[in-house]
């Protein structure tokens, strides 16, 4: 080959290798970057006053007195929103108004019975009350503003009746006046439109600013607090201000999403200024502050990861990983020692070796099924344990999963120890066992630690083997190795395919995934440092 051509090929090869390294780095950044960016959002974010409220009442963290000051300040601003909505509702929520009218009538009747009135007067007042109630009901249900005015005027005529003054029936007039005001300011022909949209608006406000003062506290914890994260609040604000509509822009083509401001729907009503008030004052209503929620790694979760942290998941992953290593590493080293030192090169041993190498490539779900069938269903009853998935079964399954990798790495490491060490040791009178323990094993340690590192990563991240043998999505913190546990890997899977609730807290999904990646990275780093120290000591530096 001519020299020039060879030079070109060399340079092309170098360029290709450099390009592949660049591509790999790029892929790594592209995959890890967003994950880490979003994942840190689970720990470092802008937390609102609702978040601090939640921390105080559920986890007993924070300063009650300063929090109370904050809450009062926020409530002051929020009151405007609540009141406006209530007022508007009363204007259009005819069912409630009708109920209230009926209530007033009933209570007036009760009141009359306790008062000292003659039968005639009682009957008269009752019929007036009934009349007023019916007129009000008519006013509430009709859509024509003229008719409403008529009915209201009729009701208000009785306002100065002395018999009614000071009684419950006075509320009739208050109701009438309020309704009149609301009716004047509302375009009642668009009642149904309002009703639907108002329900949405209310829902969003409730999600943003819960709880409404005066209402009973909901049983579900996550419904007791408003938006705890500022980014979540921003999303809700967007939903509040804009309506999504799917419109057919061109016939025959797929529908196009169009955003229209919600304020237009409520144009002319008292609600309309809200759509300016809320965005302007949201910071004062929620008081967002940069929070470093490091307890995320310790706290248990609340209401399916809506609040709280991933502490139990981390614990589960750590426990299962360490127990799995405890199973795989000693067995792996001893098996490798046997294969190198004691096994003769006959057919049986060759079959065993082939099996070990094949097992290294078996899909992990097969190991999961094996673990279920062998450990949970067969072995545990035989040993007298309860036949249910638990940490022990999961660890055993994962240990068996990485045993081939461990055996392979250990075997290579032990074979790589120079034969001269073995000879020197034997020549000094050591037995073969002593030789292995004191000379060969320490010399093979770096290679064995490589196997440990590989096994560690595999075990910590595996999901399929623990699906049936020990992992659950939700459950209590395990008290012994005979309980099931939650893990980061299974939790990530569960949240990804889970219900809408999980979709509302995407930061949690990212947080779990990033924690798993960082955990594995951390364990690997420790093992790598350990290995390099052993290696340096072996080389005499």
């Amino acid at each position: 080959m001519r020299l020039a051509v060879r030079g070109i090929i060399d340079r092309a090869f170098t360029a290709l290798t450099a390009l592949s390294v660049v591509l790999m780095c790029f892929a790594l950044v592209a995959v890890l970057g967003p994950m880490i960016w979003r994942g840190t959002g689970a720990v470092v974010f802008q937390g609102t006053v609702e978040f601090r409220k939640m921390q105080l009442s559920i986890f007993q963290r924070g300063d009650p007195s300063s929090l109370e000051k904050e809450i009062n300040q926020a409530e002051h601003i929020r009151k405007v929103v609540y009141e406006t909505i209530d007022k508007f509702k009363r204007g259009i929520d005819t069912e409630a108004l009708t109920d209230e009218a009926r209530k007033i009538h009933r209570e007036f009747g009760k009141e009359l019975r306790y008062k000292d009135v003659s039968i005639d007067e009682y009957t008269q007042l009752r019929s007036i009350s009934r009349d007023l109630r019916n007129k009000l009901e008519n006013a509430f249900v009709c859509r024509d503003i003229e008719q409403i005015r008529e009915n209201i005027e009729y009701v208000l005529k009785y306002e100065n009746d002395t018999r009614i003054k000071g009684t419950r029936a006075e509320d009739f007039f208050r109701l009438a006046k309020e309704f009149q005001k609301a009716a004047e300011s509302t375009d009642l022909s668009r009642y149904y439109e309002y009703a639907g949209s108002l329900a949405e608006v209310e829902e969003i406000i409730v999600k943003l600013l819960r709880p409404k003062p005066g209402e009973p506290v909901p049983a579900l914890v996550r419904l007791r607090y408003g938006a705890t994260r500022w980014d979540h609040a921003q999303k809700l604000l967007d939903n509040l201000l804009w309506i999504e509509q799917w419109v057919e822009k061109e016939p025959g083509k797929p529908l196009v999403k169009v955003l229209s401001p919600r304020a237009e729907q409520f144009a002319g009503t008292i609600i309309e200024p809200l759509f300016d008030y809320v965005p302007e004052n949201l910071t004062r209503m929620l008081k967002p502050r940069w929070t470093f929620y490091w307890q995320y790694f310790i706290d248990d979760n609340v209401n399916s990861h809506y609040f709280g942290g991933i502490g139990p998941e981390i614990l589960g992953t750590l426990v299962i990983t360490l127990l799995g290593m405890l199973v795989a590493v000693p067995l792996g080293i001893i098996s490798a020692a046997y294969l190198v030192e004691c096994a003769s090169d006959n057919f049986a041993v060759r079959i065993i070796r082939m099996c070990i190498n094949t097992l290294a490539g078996v899909p992990s779900i097969i190991f999961g099924l094996f673990g279920l069938a062998f450990f949970v269903l067969f072995l545990f009853p035989v040993l007298g344990f309860e036949s249910k998935p638990c940490i022990l079964a999961a660890s055993l399954t994962l240990g068996v999963l990485t045993l081939p990798v461990m055996i392979r790495a250990s075997e290579e490491a032990i074979r790589a120890v120079p034969q001269t060490y073995k000879e020197a040791s034997l020549a000094l009178g050591a037995s073969r066992f002593k030789t292995f323990i004191t000379v060969i094993f320490p010399a093979a340690l770096p290679g064995i630690l490589t196997g440990v590192i590989l096994s560690l990563s595999r075990i910590a991240g595996e999901t399929a083997p623990i699906l049936f043998t020990g992992a659950v999505a939700l459950g209590p913190i395990p008290k012994s190795i005979f309980d099931s546990t939650r893990t980061l890997s299974y939790g990530s899977y569960d949240m990804a395919v889970g219900d809408r609730l999980a979709m509302m807290v995407p930061h949690n999904q990212y947080g779990m995934v990033v924690t798993l990646v960082l955990l594995i990275l951390g364990l690997n780093t420790v093992a790598i440092i350990l290995r390099s120290r052993v290696f340096k000591k072996l080389k005499g530096r």
């Binding site: 120079p418 001269t420 020197a424 020549a427 000094l428 009178g429 050591a430 000379v439 080389k539």
Partner: protein, 295 residues
Amino acid sequence: MTKQSNNQMLKSALDVKASKSVIEPTITVQRIKGAADESNTEKCQCAIIRADQFSMYYGSTVGVKDITMDIYPCSVTAIIGPSGCGKSTFLRSINRMNDLVPHARAEGKLEVDGQDIYDKRINLVNLRQQVGMVFQKPNPFPKSIFDNVAYGPRLQGVKNKSKLQHIVEQSLKASALWDEVQDDLKKSALALSGGQQQRLCIARALATKPRVLLMDEPCSALDPLATGKIEDLIEQLKSSYTIVIVTHNMQQAARVSESAAFFCLGELIEYDNTSKIFSNPSKKQTEDYVTGRFG
């Protein structure tokens, strides 16, 4: 080089050696200085290593065949011969290191200190502690100098720290390494130079207080300076230990040994005093080898 000048060279080497030696042992029964752990007044004339029609096979290949020789205590015996003639095989048979080779089979009798070492009841551990070995390439363990030398005594069960310290010091002094390493015994053995490592291996072998020291081409991987130091060491050690040294280097054999055995193609051709082997060998093969006609 002519045969004459070769012989002259060897003779001059032997002369130098002769002026240093006190006794010239021969193969026949003779009063010789006693071993290290016997008092000097007691004289032993029994061979410490006795081979009687000893053969070693690797599968069907012959290693050595029908070796008959006696090696006496407190002497240096050199085993010389061309490559592949069975020198290392015979040496390694003495402390049963050939057991490591698959399909190795021994026939005949090989006695160390009166005991047939290929007897089924022999205690291998004890044998290897009595018969130490130093290998061709220095192979200290990847541990500290102290741990290397203390390895043997620890195997023997010595746990007392001060006792170990004493043994280590003695062994390192015996192998002329103490002065160079006494400051830092915790240093890794792999940080020493080649010659120092080999002396460390000798110290390690001496730490178990063996009767016999087998050396398989100990200086072939070392430079001349280190080689000289090792040869001086052998000179010092021979008063207390029996040394059997396999060497490719005939001049070295002439320098250090009193008796020499010439092996060729697995058979013992001639075994006699070194001076006789090099100046006036009885077999033609021996003469051809020592004069450099083949090998």
